[in-house]
């Protein structure tokens, strides 16, 4: 393998390729940071351009954009509370509160290093274990996908905010919206009201940017009215370097996030979103201080950021080894490989080892140069916060509308944006969390489609839920994960009530009982 790596070095290290690597990383960062514009879109536009390049340069360009755009999404998530893409949505949950507390610098630095860690971890896995892990990807049938989607859904109870009822209400609304569109097995049109625009369901990015982008603009408009006289001053963002001590503290979080991201990335079709939801949720559950999540806990930024960059490497594993793209972006990599006349599969590793290893190295390097480039760019980007809110709102709104329209230049997507903006604003007024809605909207479709497929292959018997070991195990974990925060909440309420009436000793013994019951 060492000589292959050296060969890869030889192929990659030309002035032109290094230039492409840096330029691609920069483009990815910026595109990722703009709400509505996704790395996927940038890569789709670049695929035909790679046709005129040699294989290594073309793949280097796509790799650089892929890695850095995923990280770039965290910039707007943290600074503005608007996730540019669904994969940086979980980062908003703690990144934005950190920024509000004046720790924007620390949050951005944290996101940078977490992304680099996740990216490097997954590229090492990609480099060393691709052929071994590819087989694993094939063991996932519809039953297993269904279980993974349910596991992702189970986290709504914990990200649902203070009121369980309101969290569930938001979640159920998300599940309902996920039903809009064509029935996946029978082709029956559901809630489309004769509109072709609704056949494929609600555009996710439109809904996401509406719920977060438009709402954040409306919120700042409210404030601007009250503070019309005040001039805004440059807020304190603090240093972007988080310090070695913090790094050491976050190391276990990064490792967990990267492992989750890489594994979910390898499973074709599971997607970046599931990985970030899971990483965030697990981090919150095992934390000694789960209350601080959502209030600006650095781990809440580190977990999803290391996970979403972990997905990047993982998603290329089944692609290179089996020709099966793990997500929409790696499908574009497949197109680029096809255009170069390179067939995926084991022969790719023997016949075109120099290209494959150059790709691996490009992956590795893109993740490394992402850090200095990101931190450099952040120095200028964080000054965004010094723009008066009343002006910033208009600028953000313009970006949101342009971004959403550019997805498929369909005015209907802008309508989706507006409607979800209104829904989000009502949610905000009535203190209903919008996070569960997004999670359910994204995963509801996946859960339904796979449940229906699993039922076809089992002859309409639900037995697959306990006869297939992976499915059964994941579903069991999901049930636990869903009820754990509810039970803790109830226990706490009970403890409070009792501590008012009984002595400390009694309370201790009753607590022990409760733990045993659990």
């Amino acid at each position: 393998m060492m000589n292959h790596i050296m060969e890869g070095f030889g192929t990659l290290f030309t002035l032109w390729n290094i230039f492409i690597l840096v330029a691609g990383t920069l483009v990815g960062l910026i595109i990722g940071a703009l709400p509505g514009l996704t790395g996927n879109m940038a890569i789709a536009l670049m695929v035909p351009v790679t046709f005129g390049m040699d294989a290594t340069s073309g793949l280097t360009l796509l790799t650089a954009i892929y890695c850095s755009s995923i990280f770039g999404g965290s910039i707007s998530a943290i600074l503005l509370g608007i996730p540019g893409t669904i994969s940086s949505f979980a980062t908003t949950l703690d990144g934005y509160p950190m920024a509000l507390k004046g720790q924007a610098g620390a949050a951005l630095g944290n996101a940078t290093i977490s992304s680099v860690f996740g990216g490097l971890f997954s590229s090492v896995v990609l480099m060393s274990l691709t052929t071994v892990l590819a087989e694993f990807a094939l063991t996932f049938g519809p039953a297993e996908y269904f279980a993974v989607a349910i596991l992702g859904l189970s986290c709504i109870a914990s990200i649902g905010g203070k009121s369980l009822t309101k969290g569930l209400l938001s979640g159920f609304l998300g599940l309902f919206i996920a039903c809009i569109g064509m029935d996946p097995q029978l082709g029956i049109k559901r809630f489309t009201f004769g509109s072709v625009n609704l056949l494929g369901g609600i555009t996710m990015v439109g809904a996401l940017i509406g719920l977060f982008g438009v709402v954040s603009v409306l919120k700042s408009a409210e404030k601007a009215q009250k503070l019309a006289e005040k001039t805004s001053k440059m807020p304190d963002v603090g240093s972007t370097w988080i310090g070695w001590k913090m790094c050491l503290q976050l190391l276990p979080t990064w490792l967990r996030g990267s492992v989750i991201g890489t594994i979910v990335g390898i499973i074709p079709g599971a997607g970046t979103n599931v990985a970030t939801f899971l990483a965030y949720d697990i981090e919150k559950k095992i934390s000694k201080d789960p209350e601080s999540f959502g209030e600006g806990n650095p781990k809440g930024v580190a977990a999803p950021e290391s996970a979403n960059n972990g997905v990047t490497g993982g998603s290329l594993v089944p692609l290179l080894a089996l020709g099966v793209p793990g997500n929409a972006t790696s499908a574009l990599f497949l197109s680029a490989l096809m255009l170069q006349g390179l067939a995926t599969g084991p022969t790719l590793f023997t016949d075109h080892a120099n290209v494959v290893y150059a790709l691996f190295l490009a992956f590795f390097l893109a993740n490394i140069i992402m850090a200095p480039l990101g931190l450099f760019l952040l120095r200028y980007m964080k000054t965004i916060l010094s723009v008066p809110e009343s002006l910033l709102g208009g600028i953000i709104l313009a970006f949101c509308v342009t971004g959403v329209f550019s997805i498929s230049s369909n005015p209907f997507d802008v309508l989706v944006l507006i409607i979800f903006g209104v829904v989000g604003y009502l949610f905000y007024k009535f203190d209903v969390p919008s996070a569960p809605l997004i999670v359910c909207l994204v995963l509801g479709t996946m859960a339904e489609s796979n449940l229906r497929q699993a039922l076809v292959s089992s002859g309409n018997s639900y037995s697959f839920m306990w006869t297939r070991p992976i499915t059964a195990a994941v579903l069991l974990i999901s049930v636990g994960s869903f009820f754990a925060p509810i039970i803790t909440k109830m226990m706490k309420a009970m403890r409070k009530r009792r501590s008012n009436m009984i002595t400390v000793d009694d309370m201790a013994s009753s607590l022990e009982e409760e733990i045993e019951e659990d």
């Binding site: 625009n197 056949l199 197109s335």
Partner: protein, 337 residues
Amino acid sequence: MKHIKRITALLLACSLILALAACGGQAANTPTGTTAGSAAPTEAPKVDFPTKTISIVVPFAAGGNVDLTCRIIAEEMGKVLGTNVVVENKEGGGAIIGQTYALNQKADGYTILALTSSFVTNILSGDTDFGMEDATAIGQFCFDPEIVVASANSGITSIEEFMEQAKAGSLTNSTPGFSTSHHIASLILANNHGLNFDYMHTNGSAEQTVQLAGGHAQVGLTTYGGAATLIKEGKIVPLAVCDTLRSPSLPEIPTMAEAGFDFTYGAYRGFAVPAGTPDEVVAILSDALATVMSTESVKKGFEDAGFPVSYLNAADFQTMLNDDYKNMEAIYYLLEE
């Protein structure tokens, strides 16, 4: 850079040869005004076309199969026509959104629709505001025949075994989605030969092939490109090609006809313009497509990406579309339960 030079040189050579051929054929009555640059092999056009950028509307996402083929073509087409040809992606609504958009543009030849089998099925679904008569064919550039495949885990190794077990109605058939061309191909095959499948509709061809390779579904119909690696790996077994000729990629696999079953079906891709476009403009575009599809760079691009080139001119493509409509109309009730 070297590539671009080589391609340009080739293209120049091609257009020169064509121009010479055109001049030679009509030497007696060619007006002296004909320049060597115009590559149209038909009579000198009466209209001044094109004078501005032409856009090809792809009703699918960028980076997909249709998009890729169009982009390979667009570059060459621009050179042949001496103008810019750009690709616009308008995806969504099962391609209806992009199709509606393209067919509602001015019928002047500057908006071309990338037309696939979904055009016909969408019209039959009744969800469209347009009908067959609203599009005029330019030509077909690609026909990708369906291939009957089985999961290696299923133990099925020949088309005969496939037919036998499918008649018994015990096979799970994985498709890339409800009413996709692979699903429709399966429906027609089943209808013609009295087969019965349990359909498992996944989300896209990547998922379909994974389900087959992992043994989660037993059989399916697909095209060669997407399953190539898994076929080579032996995880997916090709059984028969639904074409009149064997596939150059799978020379040892019989056609359905050879195996004694009459069935041809495949995904076709071509171009159309809004109805009402002047005949001269349609002819210019159709001839340009013919020239483009015979250039080496396009042929190589298609071959490398695993798309078979099969050109049909405007008249033949129109006939084929009308036939497809009739065939689809006859089986459409199968999709409506």
